[in-house]
């Protein structure tokens, strides 16, 4: 798998990412911020599915929990928005780890079903009237948009973009290091051959639940950032469809390749809009066709494309 270990390429990408919001419109900046948010969530899903071989159709639930933890902390406890991220992350880690424990006995389609149940149940639980005082019920919660600190001459959208970019870079580097570590190798060994991994002395139950927890943490932080950026959480923003979108982003970016999350995030944000511009009534069908064509032409996603491109580049040089 290609890695973004070419420092020049990485620096160039970061430079572009820093300049971009200064030259584009606010709405596009807002959309790019959401791309980064999705990318963090997709990295989380990739750690679980791409590197550990566990399926999940329930990541919308972790995203929802992260978003609601952040919104409730800001709404009810006047938490500074940046401080909601670690709390949301830890809450989702604990929840993901605990969910991962019973899920240990499930594999493949059975695990997919169990996580599907989680995705379907979460929006309904958020609507429950006994919880309405905290969750706002069907109405959800509106949160305030943070302004740029220290009198920086940035619009709110620009500031949120830079804030999200910083978090994204930190989370990406951490994920990269995790995958390259001894723990990461154990995760991948379990994916490739669980029986052999066990006979090497790897505690499969522990690593699988930990991976579930870390994966949920990433997606929860993404959810919290999403809540801050969109300034609004409601149960119906976090349906099963969000889980599928993250899965689409994972496959489009490349399973088992961390930078792929950025391609995947851009795809799930922009391509449905693009499909709608073709035909309002058939946008779902157009989106579906686009996905099918992409999987046909590029089965390994952006990862395969990048690899081919860098090979071509080197051959030319």
């Amino acid at each position: 798998m290609p890695r973004l270990n070419n420092p020049r390429v990485t620096l160039a990408i970061i430079a572009v990412a820093l300049v971009l919001p200064l030259v584009i419109q606010n709405f596009l900046t807002f959309q790019l911020t959401l791309v980064l948010v999705y990318a963090i969530a997709i990295i989380g899903l990739n750690l679980l599915t791409g590197f550990n071989g566990q399926f999940s159709l329930g990541h919308s639930a972790f995203y929802a929990i992260g978003a609601y933890v952040a919104a409730m902390l800001m709404d009810k406890a006047d938490f500074p928005y940046a401080m909601t991220l670690p709390v949301a992350g830890i809450a989702c880690f604990v929840f993901g780890f605990l969910f991962g424990l019973p899920a240990l006995r499930l594999e493949g389609v059975y695990l997919a079903l169990a996580t599907f149940a989680l995705a379907v149940a979460t929006p309904q639980i958020l609507k429950l009237s006994p919880l309405e005082h905290w969750t706002g019920g069907v109405q959800g919660i509106v949160v305030n948009k943070p302004e740029a600190p220290f009198g920086l001459p940035l619009t709110e959208d620009q500031w949120l973009y830079y804030f999200t970019l910083l978090i994204t870079i930190v989370m990406t580097v951490l994920a990269h290091n995790l995958v390259a570590s001894r723990t990461g190798r154990a995760m991948m060994a379990i994916r490739d051959n669980p029986i052999a991994a066990r006979s090497m002395g790897i505690n499969i139950a522990l690593y699988k639940s930990l991976t579930f927890g870390v994966s949920a943490l990433y997606t929860g932080v993404a959810g919290a950032l999403g809540a801050i950026v969109v300034q609004f959480v409601a149960p119906d923003s976090f349906t099963f469809f969000l889980s599928i979108s993250l899965l689409v982003g994972l496959v489009v970016g490349g399973v088992g390749w961390i930078p792929g999350a950025f391609f995947g995030g851009a795809f799930v944000l922009f391509v449905p809009n693009l499909a709608e511009s073709f035909s309002k009534g058939l946008s779902g069908a157009v989106y579906g066709v686009m996905i099918i064509v992409l999987i046909y032409v590029l089965p390994t996603g952006a990862a395969g494309l990048t690899r081919a491109a860098s090979r071509w580049w080197r051959a030319k040089a």
């Binding site: 001894r182 190798r185 154990a186 991948m188 060994a189 994916r191 490739d192 051959n193 029986i195 052999a196 991994a197 066990r198 006979s199 090497m200 002395g201 790897i202 505690n203 088992g256």
Partner: protein, 237 residues
């Protein structure tokens, strides 16, 4: 002298299907013991039961300690390396990452690096392919990788599950020569499970014949090799 590995009345099952019905066998320190038998005899199950990967009952003593209730991780830490059925290659990782996984329970980084070079000394082909995806290796190379990976533990005992399976005779010979070196020069005890009785009996000093989860015969490997009746009725050659 007490043996390195002593197994008494070993039972094991997959769910409600019983596979082992009271096995007794032993392995001397620095010895080579082989369990011979056909498909479904319970050979793979025996190895899995020894390292705690499946439900088992009975007495298992390794290096003077009972391991009948120990977890797989603890058994590995005691120096029992397993070369699993079907080689157990981590197909999408590189050759070197596969080898490093053999030492995942160890913390002594320097010694691990030295052991990596030692493994490359035994299997130069693995060094040549160190950054290649392990799934792209040939069957023989993957078997070398599995043995090399087990060596990375610095094991006292190596459990080998049909290392000759599916390999060309010349490759089998090469592998068994290396196993013999590991046993003689490095003092690694070997418990070898095989269908290929000829090569197994050449390497082993002691042999047990297993049939449907029971030991039906045991003795010195030399004697079994020369016993025509046993060869005909159990080993089929």
């Amino acid at each position: 002298m007490t043996p390195l590995l002593q197994v008494r009345d070993l039972h094991a099952s997959y769910g409600s299907t019983r596979v082992l019905h009271g096995l007794d066998f032993a392995l001397e320190e620095k010895g080579v013991t082989t369990l011979l038998g056909g498909n479904g005899a319970g050979k793979t199950t025996t190895l899995r039961a020894l390292c705690g990967m499946i439900e088992r009952r009975g007495e298992i003593t390794f290096a003077g300690r009972s391991i009948a209730r120990a977890s797989t991780e603890d058994i590995v830490r005691m120096g029992v390396a397993h070369v699993p059925d079907g080689r157990g290659t981590f197909v999408r990782l590189t050759v070197e990452e596969n080898l490093e996984l053999g030492a995942i329970t160890r913390r002594d980084r320097r010694a691990i690096a030295a052991d990596l070079e030692r493994v490359y000394g035994y299997f130069p082909i693995l060094q040549k392919r160190r950054s290649q995806q392990a799934g792209t290796l040939s069957g023989g190379e993957q078997q070398m990788l599995a043995i090399g990976r087990a060596l990375m533990l610095r094991p006292r005992l190596m459990l080998l599950d049909e290392p000759s399976f599916g390999l060309a005779p010349r490759v089998v010979q090469e592998l068994f020569a290396i196993l013999s070196t590991l046993n003689k020069d490095e003092g690694v005890s070997l418990l070898l499970v095989e269908q290929n009785a000829t090569v197994a009996l050449d390497l082993a000093d002691h042999a047990y014949l297993v049939e449907t989860g029971r030991i039906v015969f045991s003795g010195a490997a030399r004697d079994i090799r020369q016993n025509e009746k046993i060869r005909r009725s159990y080993l089929g050659y």
